[in-house]
Structure formats: structure tokens, C-alpha cells
Amino acid sequence: MADFEPKIVGFLCNWCSYAGADLAGVSRFQYPTNVRVVRVMCSARVDPSIIMEMFLQGADGVFVGGCHIGDCHYITGNHYTEKRMKLVRKLLEKVGMSRQRFRLEWVSASEGVRFAGIMKDFAELIKEIGPNPVVGDSPDMAKMEKLFIAKNVLEDFRLRALVNKQVEFLEKGNVYGKKLDEEELDKILYDALTVEFDRAVILWKTRREPLSVKAISEATNIPPDRVLDEIANLRRRDLIKLDRIEGQSPLYISQGFEV
């Protein structure tokens, strides 16, 4: 492990954090070589699903840098980044990957020394955590599956809609003019995330062979009553169907897992 050199990909927004990285350069603040930077105009351009994709492709760490809140060149872009990246952290937890593999920071154009410091910390931290478990000679297939599922969940309509609305709800209020507080919104979002993740897991597990509620529950650690509830919901949307009944157990098969 001593020679483990983490692969880190960093998305930096053009106006603040990329400029902060430039300043680190101009000021010759040294940091480890691990990060590979992708410049984007705004951190809000970073689709959360792309982060899961990077972990699937073997990134050991992913960094997103934006302007400080209030400084965004595009007025409110980083408000969306903040909310979207919350989802990423939560999903990494569900996948069973260390959420520390992903880091979001606001770095201004004058924070060269801070940028270098963050890069150093992050590289050291990833070294400590170790290589991405889903790649290498003996990849953790269970985690890889979950990462794949997480990526799909992030591409889902419902979460995208909710995360978008968070900013609006916080700042302008909902259609009834009511402003919701952050905690309340987070709860709504995380509940939806859990449900969508579980549904995706159920669909994934049943994509090839029909399974019973019990079997799904055992394979997924989701309590059987919840599996049943979600199957009911998925059936209404025609995403899963009853394949056959074996003994006392109905077996379900998913109607194509969207890849």
C-alpha cells in the first residue's frame, strides 16, 4: 500500500476555484501530484451522476470546487451544486463507500494557499482510506453494483426535481409562498433518496431471475415489509411484474433495468 498513488479527479469552476488553483501555481505552493483537473464554467455543471460514474471508472477521490456562496459568477449556480452534492454524500453512504472520497469545497481566486492545502489533505486522506474498492484485482462486486445503482438513482427524475426545488423552496418559498427550512427539506430529499435507492436495488436484484419478497429482503437487507411496499409501488408503474407463484411465495421480475 506504501506506493499507492490515488487517482483524484477535480472539477473546478472557471471563475473562482480554477483561478485559486492558478494562484497556487503562481505562488508555487506545492501539493501532491494526484489531482487531474477538469475545468467547467460553473460547479453547477457537475452532474452528481458523473461522480458515481467516476468512482465506477476507478477514481479514488473526486473533488468539486466552486465559488464561495454569494460569489458565483452565475449568480445562483453554486446553490444548486451544494444541494446536488448532498445527494452524492448520502448515496456514497448507502453504497458503503467512504463519503470522504468525495469532497466539495468553495475556493476563491485569492485562496491559492488554501487550494494547495486542500489538495494535500485530500490526497493524504485518500491514501489513508486506500484504493477504490470497486477496481483492481479483486473488485468488491457488491459495492460496484450499488455504485451502478446509485448512478442510476441520480439520473432519476424524482431526485433531480426535488434537489432543484430545494433551492427555490429555501429562497423563494413554495407555490403557497411558504418557506421551508433546510432540515425539513433535507428530510424530504433523503427520504426520497432512500426510497428510490431501495427501489433501484430491488429492480436490479430481480433483473435476471424472479425472486420472492423474502429472497429480495435477504439479498438487500431491506426489511420484507418495505420490499413488499416498494414492489406494490413499482408494479403500479409497470416496472416490476409478478412472474409466478412458487408454493406460498409470489416471485417478481423487473421489467428491464434502465442502464
Binding site: 498513488e5 503562481v26 481566486a109 485569492s110 491559492g112 488554501r114
Partner: protein, 1008 residues
């Protein structure tokens, strides 16, 4: 008649000078930007944050610096001074002395190698002497031009830097020299200097180590400052527990002659206190001041937040007399007034909120330019002509005409640009370079053929990264058909080489691996255009700032990283597509909404620039609120000037006036708006290229202090009318004036800015007309900023009585036995004061125009919570809206004085001219683009768009309604928030597509 010259000299490269230069250069004039310093940037470059948004100063300023440095119409004359000016408006001959930089500006790449090796260390002025710099240096890391200079005062002539310089840019025998330039007008923006704190020895500055100037604290707060943002006590390097700010050091001070208010220091201290607390856990901050001058837009809200959210203590009514030091601990002691008590407190650090003065070379400017200065050596101006000096053809902006903050300076700068160009508008586009490019090659049927140019940057990259190895590696990458290394890829000869190579090897995409695209991408994009390629067929790998410079001790790993970065750039480049330019034609006319003083001035300005102005006023006569102002603070007859202005507007054939007109609708976008007016019972359509919003404001009709019930209680404008038209009864013995009626309270938290000064004006007039009458002013803070302070002092000297009140305990007005009786509590004497005024004048709030909400909808332009219009950026774009082609000025922006309205009106003209001056406007082509087949019309992308550029549309397709979204390319800025929202990959931003980014990621994570 002299031949006019289509060029302008701008003196001073601070934020004002840069803004004036950019506006002029964008409007088709050649600009010479002169600065005595070796690098431009001025005072703003030293700031950490800016109030009231706490924006990082460098983040917002750096793009302007880069743009100024790279603009093909701007020639920088740094390290230069003005020696002589001859000629007349339209044609000046200017003699300039260029000091010897001892460095060839065209060769130096700003790599900084020489600086590392220079053995001489001297105090760094940029960091106010808190750290050292070398004798060969660049002023600050982001400086423009990014070129070093030798400080001859300290250089010992060792010759080491020449030996280190790979670019052969050092020229020890370079001498200072004179040069002549011809210009049509001159804009002076030399800024300000700080008061010399040694002149107030009672505060111990320079003697007690823990007494700091506010600029020293600012540098400490900066991440690029001496302690990377930490505030530390100079005496022992400890983190302070508490910090005190003393306001008005060198301002409002008769003893030292600076009787004026420096206008910015109150807000500056609040900002520093907030940031210092953020950077220093547990720090207590305490600000001692006389009046809190939070008079600008959103300033009072900032002040409240500082007190309520950040817990900063404010103690008013204090001019601290002295600071004492414990010589052992170096802790500091101050005695201050708190209510009716005297208190002494101990502080770890004391910050002197240092005032501003006219620039040190003000006398030389006076002598060379022949301009008049005022009693304080600032440039003399007139309220009706705030941007003109006493010399025709020479204009002024920024802090040189009076102390002012950044947005006011920027507005003045744009305004001065409009004034400077108005009388040479016939010479527009005559002296500027118009770069011609060969026709673009069609590459649609070709496979990717990428050329890679890898830069050594002298030894900046080559000294760490094995550049030849990167070149060999690049040659192995898919689609790369050519790769080479260059000593300097940015040099002029390499540009020609790139053009030739594109032709020779039939390249259709180019990557350069060198430095940051933020400064250099535009150069190379133009180069490949010269080679017949669309400029967006270009990608950059930053192997200097992001590699060799930050991994200088790990050459092998840095080389590996450089290869990876090149691989990523190549992967993206292979997928680049030509992006067609978005060009829109410009209707050469402006719609100006509002016929007050701002709107009329703007209309004349637009006409002077040679464009048509459609001036729309809802009332039946022009003039707006200024119609009710009779005399100015300095005594001028306002109505005489208004009548002149109205005559000018009515007689100008390019100005088309519509009074009693109503705007029914405005459609379209920058360059091509269509407005429907209801005028004289008919509907009329006007096509115009830009919109200027000048809807003005109105005076509040209060519902307190017996207003409307007792005829002796009047508003400020009503009182002014009484003073002018004999409404004030003879034998008036006593007049009471009450400040902040309707302002600075819960339902209207903003300061109306003008009322304090207007009260002083009326008080002085009352005293002049009736010297025996008693005049009482009941106020919370007197906010007579700038030179207005002198009139406040005069009023006090003439016996006007000023009584402070606190908002929780306002004066009470009653009628007792037919007489008015006003009771107030003096917080300093802790006594009740009762007066029986004959007249009570209420200094009432200025309200936004009620029509603002409708306009906000028509034009998609936002309002503040106070219902004034919200500009694109509170600091650097004060008269622009985020919606392109729409501008604002005057009270529509926020309450302000006549001279400030005029400056903003001219600023709006200047900003509008940068558009109207062009035949066709070429927009940034990296816009959002919808893939109709994938879009299912969910509209999730509509709300997050910060520019309202996306709308949901429906159309019939195969007999069914198809929903999709439509992007307004004129509004989109290409941020990509929509792309990361879309669940269907149905919308993307050109130049940053999903495929391109995925390709980069894949390349980054490829196993090598």
C-alpha cells in the same frame, strides 16, 4: 476646426481607469491607459473582500484585469507619468515619460524565476510593508501586465536576474524615455492616497506595534497577505482576543485640515470586523465612531447584520482622543463615551480607520492638465457636470473628484468614458485594429487530426516536466497527427509556426499544453482562426500553474501528470465541434424609460453618441422629482439648469420625446427590442437596440408626526418649496427637522441617502433667511459623506442644534394649546429636550417608483426587496442588468443625489454605446443547446437557470402536442446548470458537452 483623433488617454489604472478604458475600447476608440505603477490594478487589488456582499475582490476584479491587459484597442503605458499636454478638445498632444523598467515587456513571460534569485529584499508596498519583496518583482500574483520590473531604488546591479532569465528579457541599459501620443480627450482617474497616520501621533501608529491601519488589517485578512488570512498581533504573533476600530482618523478633522468625510471607511471597518471575526474564532470586535455612514445601497442591512448576526459592538458619538499602551504586554487602552458614561477598555489590537486624501501627485496633474482643484486638492467638479474638470475635453472619475466607493467609481468611470467619447464620436473605429481572419475551413467530413504544442515556458515547465517525453507521448495518442515542443508557445514566432503547421499537416484541432486558459486561451483561439479553424476547435492543458509550479520537487510524477493532462485535453479535443458564431444585428437606438434628470441626460448622451433616443415619460411634462428641487447645497439654481436641459432635450433632433405615454409591452432581446407605447390615444411601436431604465423615485407621504393633520408639519420638498416661494411665515422663530422619517425602520430598512444633506441645505438656507430663528435637527446619524460634511460643520458653526435620537425612542410631536411641541431625549446628556417649533420639517424616505414591478416583468430584470432595481453586480456592474442590453440609472437604482444620477446616466449611455457602436454583436458561442428528440418537456431546467433563458414550449408533431424547451441564446451565459439538471441528456452546453467531459474523465482514469 481641428482634426479630431479617435483615441483617449486614461490616466490611472485602478478599477475606475480600467472600466473607462474597457468601455472606450469596446466602443471603437483607441485607448492609452497610463499608470505610474509598473502594474495596473490600483487600490482594489489590495482588498480582500468588498462590502456589502463580501465578494472576494480579486475574484471579481481579475477578469477585468485580464480583459484590460489583452484588449486589442488598449495600450498599457505602465511605469509612466504625464509630462505635458498641448492642444484642445478633440486633438491633444500628450507627452509621457516612461521610466526604465529594465525589462523588455514583450519578452518577459512573468514566470518569476528572476524574483526567486534576486538577493535584495525590500518591504513589499502591496502588503503595506508586512512582508518583503525582491528588487525585481511583479506587484502581486495576478498583476497585469504579468511582467516584472526592476526597482532601481533598491537594485544593487548584481546581474543575477539576467543570468536566470530564459526569455532574455532583462535590459540593464534600458533608459527612461519620453513619448508623444495624440488623443481626442483625456480621462483622469488617479485615485487617492491614504492619510499619513504619523500626523495623528496620539494614536501611537508606528510606535505601538499593535496599532494597525485599516489597510494593514485588510492585507492580513487576505489569503495572499502576510499570514494567509490570519489576524495576528505584530508585537507577539498571538491571535487577538479583541480588536477595536477607531473611525475618522484623518477625516472630519479640522485640526489636520481634512474636514471632509472619506465616505468609505465606516463600511470598510464593518466589513473588516465581520471578516476578522470569521477568520478568528472568539474574536470580539468593537467599532468606535461618530456617525455610521451606511448610506449606500444595501449598506444599512449590512450594518444591521454586523450588529445582530455577527455580534459586532458599535459605540457611537465617539471621537477617540488617544490610545495608550502597556509597554510590557503591548496591550492598548482607550477611553470612550458610552451614553452618559466614560469607560476605559483594553484591546489586543487597535485599527485606525484611515481616511483618504487626494493623490500625492495632484499638484503635478493640476500643473500639466491645467485643471482646478478644490480646497482639499481633489479635482473640482460641479454638481451638474460631475465628470468634467475645469478644462474642456478633460474628464474625471473615481476617488479623485471626491472620496467614493467602488460602484460609484465604476459608474463614474463609465460615465466619463461616455463624456470623453461624445465629442469625438465621428472618429469612432478609425484608429482601432479590426482583425481579419481567413474563411473557416469545413471540417465536417474529416476525422479528428489533432496537433499538440507543448511548452517549455523557458524552464518554468521544462525545468520540472520532461517536455520532450511529453511530446513523444502525445504522438502516441489517438487522433494526434503532430506534436512538437516550444520554448515559449505564446511567443509571436510560435503563433506563425502554429498557423503554418495547421496548413502543412492539415490539422483540424489544436491543443496547447502550457499555462492557464484563463489568460492564454483567447490568444491561441485567435491563432487557430488565422490557420482557418473555428476558434472552438482548441483545448488547453495547464501543465504550468497546475503542474510544474506546484510539483517542482517531484519531476517524475509531474511528468506523468503532464502526460495525463495532455491525454485528457486530446480526448476532449477529438470531440470538439466547430461552434458557429452567434451574431445579432443591432438596432441603433435606445429606449429610455423615465423623463427625469437621469433619463433626459441619458437621452442626450445617446444622441451625442450618434444614436436615436426614444424618451418615454408617463407624466405630461419632463423633469421628474428634480422639478421640486430649487437650489443646490452649493447654491446653484437647479430650476434654471433644468429648463436648459429640457430645452436641449426638446430641440435635439435625435431625441424623440413621448410624454403622457404608457408602455404596454416590451418584447425582444439585446439588439432588437420592440416596444409598444400608448401615446395620445394611439398605439405606437418602436424598435430599439437597448433599454435604459430611469424610472426615478418619489417622496414618501408619511403617516406620522401629525403630517396631513397639522399644516405646520411638512415634508422636506414641501419645506424647500416654502423657503423658495415665500411660504415660510415672517416671524418664524423656530424650525425643527426630523430625520429618517420612514427610512431605516422595519418596513423600509434602507437609508434614503440624500435626506441628511438636504436637511443641512435647508437648515443653512433658513439661517441665511432668518438668522435669529432656532433650527433643530433630530437625527440618528448625520450622513453627510464626502465634501457635504463641510456644510454640516458650517451648519453647526452657524448655530443649528443637532440632537441625536435612538430608533427605540423617537421624538414625540404633540399639539399643546394650539402650539406644536416636540419632545426628545438626548442620549448623551440623558435629558429630555422640549422645543416648540413653528414649523416641523420631516426628512422623509425616497420610495421606488410603483411602476418598477411591471417593468421588472416586461424586461425580466430583478428588483431588490426594497423594490428598487437590482443591478448585475453590486460592485463592478452598477448600471448593467444581468439581462443583456438593459441598463439602469438614477433613483431606479437607489436613492441618490443629482450629481450621482448624472454620473449614472452617462454610465448607462457608455455601457449602451459599447453595444450600439457595433454593427453586429458577436456573442460568446458556448451556449446551452436543446436536443429536441431527447427533451420530453419536464421543464426541470427552467427554474434553475439564473438568466431566465429557458422557456417551456409546445408544438404539434405527428398530430400530437410535443413539449420541449427553448433556449434564448442572447440570455444564456453557458454555465451548464441546466445540463446537470436534465434527466434525459436533452440539453447541453457547447464546448462542455457530456461526451466531452466523459471523455476527459475516462482519459483521466485510464490505466496507464
Amino acid at each position: 476646426m481641428v482634426d479630431k483623433v479617435g483615441a483617449v488617454l486614461v490616466v490611472g489604472g485602478g478599477i475606475a481607469g480600467m472600466q473607462a478604458s474597457l468601455d472606450l475600447a469596446d466602443s471603437g476608440y483607441k485607448v492609452y491607459l497610463l499608470d505610474k505603477s509598473p502594474n495596473i490594478g490600483g487600490a482594489m487589488s489590495q482588498l480582500d473582500k468588498t462590502f456589502p456582499t463580501n465578494d472576494c475582490a480579486m475574484c471579481i476584479m481579475a477578469p477585468k484585469l485580464v480583459e484590460t491587459g489583452r484588449h486589442h484597442n488598449i495600450e498599457l503605458l505602465t511605469g509612466a507619468s504625464l509630462e505635458a499636454v498641448q492642444g484642445s478638445p478633440g486633438n491633444f498632444l500628450v507627452t509621457i515619460k516612461k521610466t526604465a523598467r529594465k525589462v523588455d515587456e514583450t519578452k518577459c513571460t512573468g514566470c518569476g524565476l528572476c524574483t526567486n534569485f534576486c538577493p535584495v529584499e525590500v518591504p513589499d508596498e502591496y502588503n503595506v510593508g508586512l512582508v518583503t519583496r525582491k528588487a525585481i518583482y511583479v506587484k502581486y500574483p495576478q498583476a497585469v501586465p504579468a511582467v516584472v520590473s526592476i526597482d532601481l531604488e533598491h537594485c544593487i546591479g548584481c546581474g543575477i536576474c539576467e543570468g536566470q532569465c530564459e526569455a532574455e528579457a532583462i535590459i540593464y541599459d534600458q533608459e527612461e524615455h519620453m513619448m508623444d501620443i495624440e488623443v481626442g480627450s483625456i480621462v483622469v482617474a488617479p485615485g487617492f492616497d491614504l492619510f499619513d497616520l504619523a500626523r495623528k501621533p496620539q494614536y501611537g501608529y508606528g510606535v505601538y506595534p499593535n496599532v494597525l491601519s485599516s489597510l494593514e488589517l485588510e492585507r492580513m485578512l487576505s489569503a495572499t497577505g502576510p499570514h494567509a488570512g490570519m489576524v495576528l498581533r505584530p508585537s507577539d504573533g498571538e491571535v487577538p482576543r479583541n480588536i477595536a476600530f477607531i473611525q475618522c482618523v484623518g477625516s472630519r478633522d479640522k485640526q489636520i485640515g481634512n474636514t471632509y468625510c472619506s465616505s468609505v471607511c465606516c463600511m470598510f471597518s464593518i466589513k473588516e470586523a465581520i471578516i476578522a471575526k470569521e477568520h478568528t474564532p472568539g474574536l470580539e470586535a468593537h467599532i468606535f465612531f461618530m456617525d455610521m455612514r451606511a448610506y449606500g445601497k444595501e449598506f444599512d442591512a449590512y450594518y444591521s447584520r454586523a450588529e445582530e448576526e455577527h455580534g459586532i459592538r458599535f459605540t457611537r458619538g465617539n471621537r477617540i482622543s488617544s490610545v495608550e499602551e502597556d509597554p510590557v504586554t503591548h496591550n492598548l487602552f482607550m477611553t470612550y463615551v458610552d451614553g452618559a458614561d466614560l469607560k476605559t477598555e483594553e484591546f489586543d489590537i487597535v485599527v485606525l480607520s484611515v481616511g483618504t486624501e487626494a493623490p500625492v501627485d495632484t499638484d503635478k496633474l493640476k500643473q500639466v492638465l491645467g485643471i482646478d482643484l478644490n480646497a482639499h486638492s481633489f479635482c473640482e467638479t460641479n454638481i451638474f457636470d460631475p465628470l468634467s474638470t475645469s478644462e474642456p475635453g478633460i474628464y474625471v472619475c473615481g476617488a479623485f473628484s471626491s472620496p467614493k466607493d467602488i460602484p460609484d467609481s465604476v459608474a463614474q468611470a463609465s460615465g466619463a468614458a461616455a463624456m470623453a467619447s461624445s465629442h469625438i464620436s465621428t472618429e469612432r473605429n478609425k484608429l482601432v485594429e479590426i482583425r481579419e481572419f481567413p474563411p473557416e475551413k469545413d471540417i465536417s467530413d474529416e476525422d479528428s487530426r489533432i496537433g499538440a504544442f507543448i511548452c517549455h515556458c523557458g524552464i518554468n515547465i521544462g525545468g520540472v516536466v520532461d517536455v520532450p517525453a511529453v511530446v513523444e507521448y502525445a504522438k502516441t495518442l489517438p487522433n494526434v497527427v503532430y506534436a512538437e515542443d516550444n520554448v515559449y508557445t505564446c511567443s509571436q514566432d510560435t503563433q506563425s509556426k502554429i498557423v503554418e503547421t495547421i496548413k502543412e499537416h492539415n490539422l483540424n484541432r489544436v491543443i496547447v499544453a502550457s499555462c492557464t486558459p484563463r489568460t492564454h486561451a483567447p490568444l491561441f483561439m485567435n491563432t487557430i482562426r488565422d490557420g482557418g479553424l473555428n476558434p472552438y476547435l482548441f483545448e488547453m492543458a495547464n501543465i504550468r500553474e497546475h503542474c510544474s509550479w506546484v510539483h517542482s520537487k517531484e519531476p517524475e510524477k509531474a511528468t506523468q501528470k503532464a502526460k495525463d493532462l495532455v491525454r485528457m485535453a486530446v480526448a476532449k479535443a477529438a470531440l470538439l465541434e466547430p461552434i458557429p458564431p452567434i451574431k445579432i444585428s443591432i438596432a441603433k437606438s435606445a429606449l429610455i424609460i423615465g423623463g427625469g434628470i437621469a433619463g433626459m441626460t441619458a437621452a442626450l448622451g445617446i444622441a451625442d453618441q450618434g444614436f436615436d433616443a426614444y424618451l418615454v415619460e408617463k407624466k405630461d411634462e419632463l423633469g421628474g422629482m428634480t422639478r421640486r428641487i430649487h437650489f443646490a447645497l452649493s447654491g446653484e439654481d437647479v430650476q434654471a439648469r433644468m429648463n436648459e436641459l429640457i430645452d436641449k432635450v426638446k430641440s435635439n433632433e435625435r431625441v424623440h420625446v413621448y410624454t403622457k405615454a404608457k408602455i404596454k409591452d416590451i418584447e425582444g432581446f439585446i439588439g432588437s427590442f420592440m416596444t409598444t407605447l400608448e401615446h395620445e390615444g394611439e398605439e405606437k411601436q418602436i424598435r430599439h437596440g437597448v433599454v435604459l431604465v430611469a424610472t426615478g423615485g418619489i417622496e414618501l407621504k408619511p403617516d406620522e408626526y401629525l403630517y396631513g393633520e397639522d399644516p405646520r408639519v411638512v415634508t422636506q420638498l414641501e419645506y424647500e418649496d416654502m423657503l423658495t416661494n415665500g411660504g415660510l411665515k415672517e416671524g418664524t422663530k423656530s424650525v425643527a427637522m426630523i430625520q429618517c422619517v420612514g427610512s431605516r425602520k422595519e418596513e423600509r430598512p434602507y437609508c434614503s441617502r440624500i435626506c441628511c444633506t438636504e436637511t443641512i441645505k435647508n437648515a443653512l438656507k433658513t439661517k441665511e433667511m432668518m438668522p435669529d430663528a432656532n433650527v433643530y435637527v433630530f437625527h440618528r446619524d448625520m450622513r453627510t459623506y464626502g465634501f457635504r460634511e463641510n456644510y454640516y460643520r458650517e451648519a453647526a458653526e452657524k448655530g443649528v442644534v443637532f440632537v441625536r435620537y435612538y430608533p427605540e425612542n423617537p421624538p414625540k410631536l404633540t399639539v399643546n394649546d394650539g402650539k406644536l411641541e416636540l419632545t426628545a431625549k438626548d442620549p448623551f446628556l440623558d435629558e429630555e429636550i422640549v422645543v416648540s417649533p413653528d414649523v416641523v420639517m420631516l426628512a422623509v424616505a425616497t420610495l421606488p417608483n410603483a411602476d418598477n414591478e411591471d417593468l421588472s416583468t416586461f424586461l425580466k430584470i430583478p428588483l431588490t426587496k426594497d423594490k428598487f432595481f437590482l443591478e448585475a453586480h453590486m460592485k463592478l456592474r452598477p448600471v448593467d442588468f444581468a439581462t443583456e442590453g438593459v441598463f439602469l440609472c438614477g433613483l431606479a437604482h437607489s436613492p441618490k443625489f443629482v450629481e450621482e444620477c448624472l454620473a449614472q446616466a452617462n454610465a448607462a449611455v457608455s455601457r449602451a454605446t459599447t453595444i450600439l457602436a457595433q454593427e453586429e454583436l458577436e456573442l460568446e458561442a458556448t451556449k446551452s443547446c436543446v436536443i429536441d428528440a431527447k427533451c420530453d418537456g419536464c421543464a426541470y431546467c427552467v427554474d434553475p437557470c439564473p438568466y431566465d433563458a429557458i422557456t417551456l414550449i409546445e408544438y404539434m408533431s405527428d398530430g400530437a402536442v410535443k413539449k420541449t424547451v427553448d433556449v434564448d441564446e442572447t440570455a444564456c451565459k453557458g454555465c451548464g446548470v441546466c445540463q446537470a439538471t436534465c434527466p434525459k441528456e436533452g440539453i447541453f452546453v457547447r464546448g462542455f458537452t457530456l461526451d466531452q467531459i466523459n471523455a476527459m474523465i475516462e482519459a483521466a482514469l485510464e490505466v496507464t
